[in-house]
């Protein structure tokens, strides 16, 4: 059997086992949450009778073990269940609640990845080429600075920059600066595109408008994740550049850029891909803060909402999607590193 196919199957099997264990953990963790869903939905003004009527309707009065098996059985049939926000005669399935949110999250992740991954790889390769030079230092300092700030800070700063575009000239601060500085700062601020600080999109938003609205969240996330991937690329390539076969290439008189791209990079893929996969997973499961700041209706915000209102079926489905994302992306990273490494591809 092809070693790649075997590994994929093996990993997929392990992934399923992991998912099963995760499902148990998710279910018990949620069962232990304090508070009452019925009360959380009906609000402070709900009376005990109202709460009891509601609990009967959503079936939360049954024992947890029974509820777990019902849930798993439904899931195996591809049914994620109904949200607790459903009412008699008005069913809201978990799938229909999650689908648009998942699409939004994937959209943002894809846009960010399309900017961040090539940028990080490019900067990493250049930094390795000109290592210890001023370019390398500049890139390192810049990316380490952006990764060191918490992402909500980066997000608010970007939003503030866009607001200042209009308000800077009239502010007290601008009055205290010397005139030439005010003018040039204002000129620089006006060069900033007027990105929307509110990324609220819905299913009727056209594609290009959607793209325009996610500009600020995508830039924020790019600033946050570039450093990690860029530094791994740089380190992996520099590591390769110390190998004897690179010295050989150098003695043959090949140019440094060809050495890096044709000889060093192919052997450095494994660690880079692992880090890229890790960051992509983060883009899908970990961007709730950025979503909140820019009011972007992604799946992170949905899960936080659902936890607050104790909408258990939605929380469980989100958690499972997150777990599956991690498992799949790590699997993908493993497959790529095996496929790019002949020694792993043909083990003795």
């Amino acid at each position: 059997m092809n070693p790649v196919a075997r590994t994929v199957l093996q990993r997929l099997g392990l992934g399923l086992v992991t998912l099963f264990i995760v499902s148990i953990i998710i279910f018990s963790a949620i069962a232990m949450l304090p508070g009452d869903f019925a009360k959380a939905t009906l609000g402070q003004s709900a009376t005990p009778e109202t709460v009891a009527a509601f609990q009967r309707e959503i079936g939360i009065d049954r024992p947890p073990v029974e509820r777990y098996f019902v849930w798993v059985a439904q899931m195996l049939h591809g049914d994620f269940g109904s949200s607790f926000a459903s009412r008699t005669g008005y069913r809201r399935t978990v799938a229909e609640i999650i689908a648009p949110r998942l699409y939004n999250t994937m959209f943002l992740a894809a846009v960010t990845a399309l900017i961040a991954v090539p940028l990080a790889l490019g900067l990493g390769i250049l930094a390795a080429l000109y290592r210890n030079g001023w370019f390398d230092r500049l890139v390192n300092v810049a990316t380490l600075t952006t990764i060191s700030f918490p992402e909500f800070f980066v997000a608010y700063m970007l939003a503030y920059l866009v607001i200042s575009r209009d308000t800077f000239i009239g502010s007290d601060f601008a009055q205290t600066l010397p005139h030439w500085l005010t003018v040039s700062l204002n000129w620089a601020l006006n060069a900033v595109p007027k990105f929307p600080t509110l990324s609220n999109v819905n299913d009727q938003t056209p594609f290009w408008e959607h793209l325009w609205k996610v500009a600020l969240p995508a830039i924020t996330l790019t600033l946050v994740i570039v450093a990690h991937m860029m530094r791994m690329t740089r380190a992996a390539i520099i590591n390769m550049l110390a190998s004897p076969y690179i010295d050989m290439a150098r003695l043959k008189g090949m140019s440094p850029i060809v050495i890096v791209l044709r000889h060093a990079l192919p052997n450095a893929w494994a660690p880079i891909v692992t880090v890229v996969a890790f960051n992509l997973a983060y883009l899908i499961v970990g961007v709730v803060v950025v979503e909140v700041v820019f009011v972007y209706p992604g799946i992170g915000q949905l899960m936080v909402d659902a936890v607050k209102s104790r909408d258990v079926p939605v929380v469980q489905a989100c958690a499972l999607i997150f777990a599956a994302t991690y498992i799949l992306l790590n699997l993908l990273a493993d497959v790529i590193s095996i496929a790019t490494n002949p020694r792993l591809l043909h083990p003795r």
Binding site: A53, S83, R87, Y90, A159, V162, L198, V295
Partner: protein, 535 residues
């Protein structure tokens, strides 16, 4: 008055209808001896004062969750309340900017039999969005939706006093109450009690077909709701806007940013800490209304030491309310006096003396209770109201000067209303307030109310409550409510700290008349009442 001044006056009256352009108006102004700038200012202020038709307003709401629904059994916060109750639907009555009840979908209402029977006559020609005429049957099924054993409506307890509701002909609805209630029309203004079309004998909420000023176009729970003008609305000329979009922006900083960049025209619940920065923006103005909402610290009077009225009194004198208003609410609140009835409400009376910070009096009452010093726990979380934890810290400082050791227990915000409120002996709480004294007292102070948060059961107070409710003589009612307010002030278990202001911010593009104090967002009816002044 010269001829040109006379023309200017006429032109001014025409601006509202959009019949005079800015350019023509300035010409007339110049002829009347005004400068260009003065004429322009006059044009702008006149244009803003007169409602204008048309336009699209984006309104940023402070709430919104994925569990939101158009089902009026819920409506937990300002997003659903403003979009679906205030804009999409109508109740039988509404509360105006002065706090008086006015007919809404009802044309008139009258009572008989000691305020026990209420007849509401429906407005002629009012229709649902699908063209069907509103009949008494629709009203009856809509209200029955909130009544009965199996209802999940949050308004159930509100209608507990209704014994029977039935149609009397197609245009009249008759309510029979268990006890007389002179304020019943106020209750009918509640945002849950919207009128829906009857379908197979049941209220049809899921279709979203209602009677309101706006028709639902698109709703994404937790994200946004878009509504467009109802051309057949029964109120003459209203609404003014062609389209409104409610956008859920729960993050405070994001809300402020969205208004600053002009991506929304209005935000509810502005950030008090950065209000100064927002005020500097020439395109933005702040609207502040003292509402009925108030922050309280209920003490469980069935538990020691709060079962002793002198201990309660000592605590009431050990709090520096003015300092709390200044430091925690940055001046955007009004000092309260252990009386939950806001000054704007009918029959409100400020009980004497005003409770303020007075260590001598606090010590005096403590001594009267037979104690030298006292140690109590105060359970708080910002889930009760923003600033509750900070307010509790201030209370600890001032109480310490009175020989009272207040131990501030910081509770989890999550599930605060489940685990702390009505469970801990002394905690923090929030009431959005009610439009009448009776309504407020019945829900939060009556002996048999499930939300009697201080478990206070003063027999005289409860007698007065029932008597005053059925009393139709205004002077006698006023006297009874005054006595009840004095009782809550002197003996009650709730420390009413402050009345909070509704602080919202808006683009100067939006214009409106006086803002109603009964709920946020102009009594939830901003979409119907506000307009865009293009100037």
């Amino acid at each position: 008055m010269s001829e040109s001044e006379y023309k200017l006056g006429i032109a001014q009256s025409l601006i509202g209808g959009g019949k005079v352009s800015r350019r023509d108006f300035i010409h007339l102004g110049l002829a009347a001896g005004l400068t260009v700038a003065a004429a322009d200012r006059l044009f702008v202020s006149t244009a803003r004062a007169e409602p204008m038709q048309g336009g699209f307003a984006k309104l940023g709401m402070a709430h919104g969750a994925t569990t939101d629904s158009i089902d009026p059994a819920g409506y937990p916060d300002t997003f659903t309340q403003t979009a679906f109750s205030g804009s999409l639907s109508n109740s039988l009555t509404e509360v105006d900017a002065k706090g008086n009840v006015q007919p809404d979908l009802a044309e008139s209402f009258e009572t008989s039999d000691g305020a026990k029977t209420w007849a509401f006559k429906l407005r002629k020609g009012a229709t649902f969005h699908n063209g069907k005429t509103v009949t008494a049957d629709d009203v009856v099924t809509s209200l029955q939706y909130h009544m009965g054993k199996d209802t999940k409506s949050a308004a159930k307890s509100l209608l507990d006093s209704v014994a029977d509701v039935k149609a009397d002909g197609p245009e009249t609805v008759v309510f029979t109450l268990k006890d007389g209630n002179a304020d019943f029309p106020y209750i009918m203004s509640d945002y849950h009690l919207v009128i829906m079309p009857a379908k197979d004998g049941k209220a049809d909420w899921a279709s979203g077909v209602r009677t309101g000023a706006f028709v639902l176009e698109n709703f994404q729970p937790g994200v946004s709701a878009k509504l467009k003008r109802n051309p057949n609305y029964f109120k003459n000329g209203k609404p003014y806007l062609d389209e409104v979009e409610f956008i859920a922006i729960t993050d405070l900083a994001a809300r402020m940013a969205a208004l600053s960049t002009g991506e929304v025209d209005y935000i509810g619940r502005a950030d008090l800490k950065t209000l100064g920065m927002l005020k500097r923006n020439p395109k933005v103005e702040i609207v502040e209304v003292t509402g009925y909402g108030h922050y309280t610290l209920p003490m469980n009077v069935t538990m020691a030491p709060f079962d002793n009225p002198d201990v309660r009194m000592a605590l009431k004198w050990a709090i520096n309310r003015q300092e709390i208003v200044d430091k925690i609410f940055l001046g955007h609140a009004t000092v309260a006096n252990d009386n939950p009835i806001a000054p704007a409400i009918k029959f409100a009376k400020d009980p004497q003396p005003q409770h303020s910070f007075d260590p001598e009096k606090a010590k005096h009452y403590l001594k009267k209770a037979g104690m030298e010093n006292l140690k109590v726990d105060l359970s708080v979380a910002d889930a009760a109201f923003a600033g509750a934890v900070d307010a509790a810290s201030l209370i600890r400082e001032t109480a310490a000067q009175c020989g009272i050791d207040v131990n501030v227990v910081r509770e989890a915000e999550d599930a605060y209303w489940d685990n702390v409120w009505l469970k801990k002996p002394w905690c923090a709480s929030y009431w959005s307030g009610r439009a009448t004294a009776d309504w407020m007292f019945t829900q939060a102070f009556a002996a048999d109310s499930s939300w009697n948060e201080s478990f206070w059961k003063n027999p005289h107070f409860n007698e007065l409550l029932v008597q005053a409710r059925a009393e139709t003589d205004e002077a006698k009612r006023a006297a009874m409510y005054a006595e009840m307010q004095q009782l809550t002030h002197d003996d009650g278990g709730s420390i009413v700290l402050v009345f909070n202001n509704f602080v919202s911010a808006q683009s100067k593009k939006l214009a409106h008349g006086d803002v109603a104090p009964n709920w946020e967002n102009d009594g939830l009816k901003m979409a119907e009442r506000w307009w865009i002044a293009t100037a």
